[in-house]
């Protein structure tokens, strides 16, 4: 697969200019860019060459890959694979064993300094990285080697972006995020468990159109998709504002589609685009299906106090209180006893005041 113009590749697959324009308009809408950006995408992408992409899976569950490939063509996310030259992806490529390793090294050599590296999965540092090895090499070694020649890195999914489920307390493998290992390359985090496929497409489109990374937030996430909370975009938000909450998953409120805040929805603190982009070709998304947001695009979401606890509830049961009350009683009783004995002492020492005592 030689790199050539994206539009030509698409035309070769029967995708017309109008279909492409429609795709770009939709993409711009999803990225919350001004509607006019759709045309800018189309103009730029039509001329851009297809970039080489190397995709490395580390300590992961393949859920991210599944999410993207299951939403494959003919949906717009599927066009991702038409826009890029995917030179290495273990799950998808036909090659195996030494052949696959050879393909990887060939891709690195050929596109040195220009290819895009996509990583899914966290990097285990425990036991010198022995928890996850491919071809006899630890993920850590592979990452360092491949990252060295990359133009930019996309950390795909919460594991690559933050350390993910493997990093959950007590983090037995010493899992870390890509950004904890690689410090000298631009890194885009696309967290989510799994991430929304179109975010990947949007980032690629941006990379190809504007030749750089999109605007990122403090956690390295594209603001276009992670700029607002689930809560802000949630169609159930009016119920929150009216104070109408489902109290259990099968009560009247749940049937009426009221706000799931009290059932532990993490929408208010979760930055992601689920509420507007939805899942499964725009079919539905967690809150629409009746379950609160888990907050999967936020760091350490599994250790954030329980999925079914309202955000305003304590993250863990209070433990110190009985001891505190007991200590308060003891401290109070001690000072009260001391005060009373001081008072008694003052009384015992009382000298009846006489007229003479009125003078100094």
């Amino acid at each position: 697969m030689r790199a050539n113009r994206i539009l030509d590749t698409l035309a070769g697959q029967g995708i017309t200019r109008r279909a492409f324009l429609k795709y770009c308009a939709t993409l711009a809408s999803l990225m919350a860019l001004p509607p006019s950006a759709g045309k800018a995408f189309a103009d730029a992408l039509a001329k851009a060459p297809r970039p080489s992409v190397i995709w490395l899976p580390f300590q992961e569950c393949t859920g991210c890959t599944e999410a993207i490939t299951r939403s494959h063509s003919p949906s717009i996310e599927g066009m991702l694979f038409d826009m890029i030259s995917l030179d290495y992806q273990e799950t998808l490529m036909a090659a195996a064993g030494h052949q696959a390793e050879a393909a990887l090294h060939e891709a690195i050599q050929r596109n040195m300094g220009k290819y895009l590296l996509i990583v899914d999965g966290s990097v285990p540092l425990g036991l010198d990285g022995a928890y996850s090895c491919i071809a006899g090499r630890s993920n850590l070694e592979t990452l360092k080697e491949v990252a060295a020649g990359a133009a930019a890195i996309v950390a795909m999914g919460s594991c690559a972006a933050y350390g993910g489920l493997p990093k959950a307390n007590p983090n037995p493998t010493g899992a870390v995020a890509v950004s904890d290992v690689i410090k000298d390359k631009p890194i885009i985090n696309i967290p989510g468990c799994p991430p929304i496929p179109v975010v990947m497409t949007g980032v690629l489109a941006h990379f190809l159109t504007f030749g750089g990374l999109p605007e990122l937030d403090r956690l390295g996430r594209p603001k276009a998709f992670y700029g607002e909370t689930i809560h802000d975009r949630c169609y159930r938000r009016p119920f929150y504002d009216q104070g109408k909450f489902a109290k259990t998953f099968d009560d009247e409120g749940a049937r009426k589609g009221w706000c799931l805040f009290e059932l532990g929805c993490k929408g208010p603190v979760t930055y992601n685009a689920c509420a507007s982009v939805k899942w499964n070709d725009g079919t539905s998304w967690p809150v629409e299906s009746g379950h609160g947001c888990l907050g999967c695009s936020e760091p350490d979401f599994w250790d954030a106090g329980g999925f079914y606890k309202a955000l305003s509830m304590p993250a863990r049961p209070l433990k110190l209180e009985p001891a505190a009350i007991a200590a308060g009683v003891v401290a109070g009783a001690a000072i009260a006893a001391s005060s009373r004995s001081r008072k008694s002492a003052a009384k015992a020492a009382h000298e009846t005041t006489t007229l003479a005592d009125l003078e100094k």
Partner: protein
């Protein structure tokens, strides 16, 4: 520490510690204060309807005759921000949820738009009473570090809570965490400053009402 970890900390260990210190301090201070005891009043009581500690606890919430016009700002500002605080603390759905999470009690709340409005009014009233404290000679004369400090400690939870709900200034997660943190500072501070009047006001009114009620004076 990222925002969510910060939030999880203030919802977890931070809350635990703050509530523990609050309870410890409250129990200790209540025993410290009321453990001092008082002498029985040996004078023959005069019984008058309406003259008792309990009556005074209620009645003292209303300005005595002629006092309102002496300092309307103190009264109006005081009413608005105390009632506002009570409404925000006890009638905002997430707060009710917190109480339910802690002790299992729950009750109906107010729509968030109303709580929102109440918050703005409360903040405004608190600013007014602060300005009054700065400008009015008696209040300024009486005020020390503790007065300014406790004002800030009370103001910040309302401000951060409102900012968080309105998504202003900082990301919601950070603002929510700051809000909870500011409440924890308030909890820790309360038993050891003049904010403790939240508890002792009842004791003080009761004592005043009882001492004077013994004389048959409904104060």
């Amino acid at each position: 520490m990222n925002e969510l970890q910060f939030l999880t900390w203030v919802r977890g260990p931070g809350l635990d510690a703050a509530v523990a210190i609050f309870l410890l301090g409250t129990v200790w201070r209540l025993i410290e204060i009321y453990g001092l005891g008082r002498k029985k009043d040996l004078a023959a009581p005069r019984l008058t309807p309406g003259a008792s500690g309990w009556h005074t606890i209620v009645r003292r919430s209303v300005p005595p005759e002629g006092m309102f016009k002496q300092s309307p700002v103190t009264y109006v500002g005081g009413y608005v921000f105390h009632i506002g605080l009570a409404a925000i603390v006890f009638l905002f759905a997430p707060h009710i949820k917190l109480v339910e999470g802690l002790v299992g009690l729950s009750w109906p709340g107010l729509p968030s738009q109303i709580v929102d409005l109440v918050s703005v009014v409360t903040l405004a009233a608190m600013v007014v009473v602060l300005v009054d404290r700065i400008k009015r000679p008696v209040k300024r004369f009486l005020s020390g570090f503790e007065d300014w400090f406790t004002w800030a400690v009370t103001f910040l939870p309302v401000l951060t809570g409102w900012l968080a709900v309105q998504h202003l200034l900082l990301p919601y997660t950070t603002m929510l965490a700051l809000h909870i943190l500011s409440v924890e500072v308030l909890l820790v501070t309360l038993p050891f400053t003049k904010l403790f009047h939240a508890f002792t006001v009842f004791g003080s009114r009761w004592y005043n009402g009882t001492v004077n009620g013994h004389k048959g004076v409904p104060v």
